[in-house]
Symmetry: C2
Subunit: 346 residues, 2 copies
Amino acid sequence: MPTSDSPGRRPTIADVAGAAGVSRTTVSHALNGIGKVDPRTRARVKEVAAELGYRPNLRAQRLRRGQAKAIALASSMPLAVAGGPSRLGFYMEVAAAAAERALNHGYALVLVPPVESGSGLESVDIDGAIVVEPDRDDPVVAELTTRGLPYVTLGRQVGAGDRVPSVDLHGGPVAELLLEHLREQGARRPALITGTGDRHTYVDVREVFTRLAREHGRPVLSATAPEEGGEEAGYRCCAELLRRDPGIDAVCAMVDTFAVGAVRAIADSGRTVPDDVMVVTRYDGIRARTCEPPLTAVDLHLDEAAVGAVELLLEHLRGGDAPSRAATPRPRLLPRTSSLRVTARA
Amino acid sequence: MPTSDSPGRRPTIADVAGAAGVSRTTVSHALNGIGKVDPRTRARVKEVAAELGYRPNLRAQRLRRGQAKAIALASSMPLAVAGGPSRLGFYMEVAAAAAERALNHGYALVLVPPVESGSGLESVDIDGAIVVEPDRDDPVVAELTTRGLPYVTLGRQVGAGDRVPSVDLHGGPVAELLLEHLREQGARRPALITGTGDRHTYVDVREVFTRLAREHGRPVLSATAPEEGGEEAGYRCCAELLRRDPGIDAVCAMVDTFAVGAVRAIADSGRTVPDDVMVVTRYDGIRARTCEPPLTAVDLHLDEAAVGAVELLLEHLRGGDAPSRAATPRPRLLPRTSSLRVTARA
């Protein structure tokens, strides 16, 4: 290891105090800019500390201050069934933006995706957490609550009300964008695929979907698939919907892996996308863009949302009158070949 | 905040000791499975601790043990010039795989991408770090060395020799795969674009490129672009190469953003890809896959490499006879339209 070469032990605060001829408290005050220290003494202490290569013990400092100076980005949603670049989805996009913003505030961002051995959060020393789109009964939220750790959610937690600060991801407007687009493109018998469970994005789209179905006198063709099943679960769910109702002419699959599986199920049933069945999804990531045909999706402004979540959490950690909500720009539809029937014909 | 509801103060080890009628040392030994504690006493202490909702102070525990139980994934390479899903490149793919593996060992993975305000590492409490493809003079490595923190590199650091444990990313074989492929597809006047600086991947490809140029009696058409310039830097670099030598019939751009810029520069010069000029790149990420035409790239087995780096670092943190190298599977070429001239004609 590179450190095996480093000579002798690390200089301590006592070494600095000895060399500068002052007390340890004076060294601590001088270096941390607290208490009353003569400016010349402060300058000398800093000089001596630099000469000796003294660095404060971050861990001890933080124990005294009761801070970890670290926040977690936690999620109960499986990162991906497959590995490789396909793992780079919603969560990792949020992580990239959040890590930069947190570091700029002097906070480390710790990744806590779901792992097989428990929540992963148990062993992590943090001041607080951002929970990405929690379920109504979310194990990550339960763990944070048990540990008494502050958290904010990215996308509201269904049932949590105003108790938990959150960044709005506009679940209702996103659902309306997708479903209205399908209607405009000629869909008369759309079906909905969400994950099992009650993440806000599923609950919101189910509500909008049911309302629109009633308004247009259509049956509510809705099904759920287990998130951990990935593309295969989306395939099976879509195939089953098409068997049950062969007249389905559009599929709104709220998880991008499900949408990719749905496209495959549609092709295997002898139908074409978008001419026989249109497909849309929510998150505009690598899967939506590399699917054949490319999938209509929504720009959720995740960069702004991630930065907003970091700011919201840090405001709460600082205490005082922090807001309970942070807004993000309105979502924007990104129409692609998978649902452009009208335009394709024009 | 959700924690504002939590009643009273958090139970301490003294509370558990009092309720169980034993000493604090006994509580500590019982809960941590150290020392000699009667099994019945241990069971009672655990029961009382659970009843009271006692949780050990992770920070104090780690200060005593001298552990942060956190490792950093650090890089001096700009995350991306643009935001959004295009930020999901090499570094974030490594992060996803490394975070899961680290958590399974009870370690948190802290993201330390380069940030404007210094290295970002200064404020982070970690036991060690994985440095992603460091430059020969890397600021992240310098910071880790100053702090006396152990680290391993993902991709060797040029000039570091065997002093620093590293995971091999096969820079030479990757270069040969790409350049041999171009030759097979008919390239007679290939050009090379690398980033400025001496990351192993640049140094290795320059060496192979120069050797092959000499073997085939060709000029060494090589240029560098600043990494932080992104797609625009790749565009300008490629446009300048084409001006200098209009006979160039292939471009090997080692950074994916450069390759995307190069494709645009080739089109703007009135040439077509791959018929007039072929383009290949190294990392098989979202940019290579969504480029028009899709870019030939290399499967670097980043999942295995990331997991290997975590294992290598943790072995060194445990001390003892840890290996200085971890191998990854051999890289594999992924030929795509951007360089399939022969096949396209066949």
